[in-house]
Subunit: 221 residues, 2 copies
């Protein structure tokens, strides 16, 4: 099988999940190639994958001769290269708001709780699963508290994070919410986040991007 | 004093430093308002500042009635609102590369070593300055190793991260380099990073954005 767009990802990677949502929202078909993040010490550390992405992280998107890394840069690229069904609003202020909401998740929540950081907490601080859970809930909770305020207090919030069209912000929020539920973060304090996530997950573009819907997801987990 | 652009920042904040570079590269005058991140438990946690940025982080840029947060979103906004002296190349592939290099720093290095994370390591893992230093050098080193490979192996790298014009990527790299030297990360393994940083710091736009050049920098530290 050859495809114009090839996505290297992992079913449960938050960053790969974002890009799947963006591809689906734009109606772009792609070939999915799994990079198992845990098996054999992690396929992302293989020479073959490192040649694509020296950061040894997923996702990586191939488009023709372009090798694209960093999920936020990839989603912006998709909006640049395939302008239909834009992921950003058409005014500078709206774009700034959507990018800020997206980056609140992509910069200030997700990287702190990423697999490699949890592995380091285990190896250097003897953190067990309970301590890793406390760490994860703390940072997701801090971020969601701010995000809830920003969403609930703005007239620009609509059915989705920004108005009634899903954007880059929703593509970041939904995977982070999925991660939060894995860590059993109570959601009572985040009604607006919950409402927006529910609206997103009612759409095929989001549902089909979910970890459980991926070919590399284990039958049960 | 009134100003069209008001930047809330802190002399040594990496994220505020990025935005100062971007403002200077575009030749935009701005009023600087200091938010002391340490004094009295941190002015970023005050009610007054939280009303501007519920994340309680710097920077925050005010432009007319726009309140902008997240340094990457702010820099993209500046490029949107003030197109002269662009911070991104004019081709989609180039923009994706610059954004990926910028986000490597902004997502995968900086947030993991940010003040609030180091404070948490101290309060929850009894990490002292030596352990915080080891943590910081580890994550900056991981990121710089990948960044060095990406810069050294690409024909698109020029005098700066992308060609011969400073971009969003340089605006992220220079503050992260400054932070790396604070933590005494050896730079021998990163000759391309070193060369690019030196080229940047030879420009007024970068020099005038440096922490030591800010009005709120202490006389000696």
């Amino acid at each position: 099988m050859t495809a114009d767009l090839v996505l290297y990802g992992y079913w449960r990677s938050s960053a790969a999940y974002r890009v799947r949502i963006a591809l689906n929202l734009k109606g772009l078909a792609y070939e999915s190639r799994a990079v198992h993040l845990v098996k054999d010490g992690g396929e992302q550390h293989s020479d073959r994958y490192r040649a694509l992405n020296p950061q040894e992280l997923v996702p990586c998107l191939i488009h023709g001769d372009q090798v694209l890394t960093q999920s936020m840069a990839i989603m912006e690229y998709l909006d640049d290269a395939f302008p239909a069904s834009p992921l950003l609003p058409n005014d500078a202020g709206g774009r700034a708001r959507v990018r800020a909401l997206a980056q609140l998740v992509a910069c200030d929540i997700h990287p702190i709780g990423n697999l490699r950081v949890l592995q380091y907490l285990g190896s250097h601080f003897n953190a067990d699963d309970a301590v890793k859970g406390e760490w994860s809930r703390h940072w997701i909770g801090e971020g969601f508290k701010a995000l809830e305020t920003m969403l609930a207090s703005s007239a620009q919030t609509g059915r989705f994070c920004h108005g009634d069209t899903p954007s880059l912000a929703d593509a970041c929020l939904v995977p982070q919410y999925y991660n939060a539920t894995r860590w059993k973060l109570p959601m009572d304090a985040f009604p607006t986040i919950q409402r927006v996530v529910d609206a997103c997950n009612a759409l095929d573009a989001f549902a089909q991007a979910s970890p459980e819907a991926q070919p590399d997801a284990p039958p049960s987990h």
